[in-house]
């Protein structure tokens, strides 16, 4: 059976067997391995079991995780690896070759796996709420009217934003020649993308033919209206 040996100043503090569940390492008490030291983050690192392998993942800790003196984000542990968390060292003791195959059904990493223990879920949720993870802030697009009209700032909270004369438009514009929907902005994996649907739309002075991804401080002209696009940070609640 593989195990972890927690050491400080070359003194063994405790041994932990690596069983079925993932192991978390951090300062908070609900970790599998609690290290009460200020150099260690609340939830510092995690070791997942993936088939026959053990994979260390740094949970965006403040001071990083090191394996054999090299900083790692994720690392497949090998027998004898020294994992340094703050000033503590965790020695990974793998299974001797040959026995490993007998111990665990050989699984190839090509096979899709899922993290499915209840504990894992809890920790993932906590990790998202922890202060370190909060650094990965969410951004939201804003269209700000800069033509002196009273439209002001419109946050693009919907996945698909319609611009035009129709009452159902998220950005409602008026004008004799304004179509019901002149353009749409959709929020996609790559960002905010504006596409004209029945009228002329200019981004930074150029007429948009098919669609264009909006970047910070792009100016958008629609009819007599002018907007500036930018993304602002929103706090994750």
């Amino acid at each position: 059976m593989a195990r972890l040996i927690l050491m400080f100043n070359k003194q063994v503090i405790k041994e932990y067997p690596l069983l079925k569940e993932s192991v978390t390492i951090g300062r908070n008490e609900d970790n599998t391995i609690t290290i009460n030291n200020l150099a260690v983050s609340g939830y510092h690192a995690r070791i997942d079991i993936a088939g026959p392998d053990f994979i260390l993942t740094d949970l965006q800790s403040t001071n990083g995780s090191f394996v054999n003196d090299k900083k790692v984000v994720s690392h497949k542990l090998s027998h004898g690896d020294n994992v340094m968390i703050g000033k503590h060292v965790i020695l990974f003791v793998g299974v001797e070759k040959g026995k490993a195959a007998a111990d665990r059904k050989k699984m190839d990493m090509d096979k899709t796996m899922m993290l499915d223990t209840a504990k894992q879920k809890e920790l993932l949720a906590k990790q998202q709420k922890s202060p370190q993870a909060a650094q990965a802030v969410e951004k939201i697009g804003v269209m700000e009217a800069i033509d002196g009209s009273d439209i002001g700032e419109i946050e693009l909270t919907k996945k698909l934003i319609k611009i035009g004369k129709a009452h159902s438009s998220e950005i409602k514009l008026s004008g004799l020649f304004m179509p019901a929907t002149v353009a749409t902005i959709s929020r996609r994996p790559s960002g905010y993308i504006i596409s004209p649907t029945g009228g002329k739309v200019k981004v930074n002075g150029e007429v948009v033919k098919d669609s264009v991804q909006l970047k910070d401080f792009d100016t958008i002209d629609v009819g007599s209206y002018r907007f500036q696009f930018y993304e602002k940070e929103v706090k994750n609640s």
Binding site: D110, L115, D116, K158, S190, T197
Partner: protein, 285 residues
């Protein structure tokens, strides 16, 4: 709007069974691929249940024109009504897979990814959980309409890993979200307007493991028939060893009407032009 769709699912060269499931429904414009996991055929069960449940519940809500109070779970105000139908059907299907996995010993630990495309004349919706993908080819560019829910791609998003490192990482198949492992699941959902000649490819990771985005782009661009495109994808995967099940659905749109709506005065001019054309045709036979 015209829809031409085609699909193929292939067991590959290394696996005994096919754990992928899929469905195509041209009348609803609903296309689904699910990649199941879990031994002893449980993966196949998970993916099949997911696909069936989503089809059934989505159809029911569409037909009944269900309103917010009938949704499964809290409605998402950032989505359209149809987007909320998709969201609800995903939540419901996940719960069914989850409960079966809890209830029956032989299904314990089963799960599945899901990727959904809804095509209507006024709205395209793409939704996913896990690492099956949707690609869209529009105006000469290939775009992903799904987000991989894997440890690796989340690290790429946070800037902790490059795309190149991600592609070779031993952890690229470890999912952070999937159907069946938790009572609730939140998909990524995207909405956009259709555009003429849009082409979509839905696929399980059997394709994306062996075929790069650039190759998917080139093949989707150069094939004019969705059936040929599916065949080409599968042939390429088989040539490269096909270590996993592969499922692809290709959906090609044509005759999509630009829905400007037109201003009243624009419509008036439009009518005027059509009227004049008619008069001219009568005058000059």
């Amino acid at each position: 709007m015209q829809i031409k769709a085609s699909s193929i699912s292939d067991v590959g060269l290394k696996r005994d069974g096919n754990e992928d499931s899929f469905s195509t429904d041209d009348s609803l414009g609903l296309y689904i691929v699910a990649d199941g996991m879990g031994g002893h055929l449980a993966g196949e069960v998970a993916s099949r249940i997911a696909v069936e449940m989503i089809n059934k519940s989505f159809r029911k809500w569409i037909e009944e024109e269900a309103q917010a109070n009938e949704f499964f779970g809290k409605p998402d105000s950032s989505l359209s009504l149809k987007g909320n139908y998709i969201l609800s059907s995903i939540r419901l299907a996940n719960k069914v897979v989850y409960e079966m996995a809890m209830e029956y010993k032989q299904y314990h630990g089963m799960g599945t990814t899901v990727v959904i495309l809804l095509v209507t004349p006024t709205l395209i919706i793409a939704a996913n959980v896990g690492d099956s993908r949707i690609y869209m080819l529009r105006a000469g560019e290939l775009e992903r309409l799904s987000k991989d829910h894997t440890i690796v791609s989340e690290q790429v998003e946070m800037g902790m890993m490059t795309e190149e490192e991600a592609a070779t990482s031993p952890m690229k198949h470890i999912l952070t979200r999937n159907f069946g492992s938790s009572e609730t699941v939140e998909p990524d959902i995207f909405e956009l307007e259709p555009s003429n000649n849009d082409r979509f490819v839905l696929c399980s990771d059997g394709l994306t493991d062996l075929v790069t985005d650039e190759e998917i782009f080139e093949m989707t661009q150069s094939e004019d028939d969705p059936e040929n495109l599916c065949r080409k994808f599968i042939d390429t995967v088989l040539k490269r060893g096909a270590h996993d099940n592969t499922t692809v659905i290709s959906v090609f749109l044509s005759d999509v009407e630009k829905r400007g709506g037109g201003s009243k005065i624009g419509l008036f001019f439009g009518d005027l032009v059509v009227g004049i054309q008619k008069i001219i045709k009568k005058l000059i036979p």
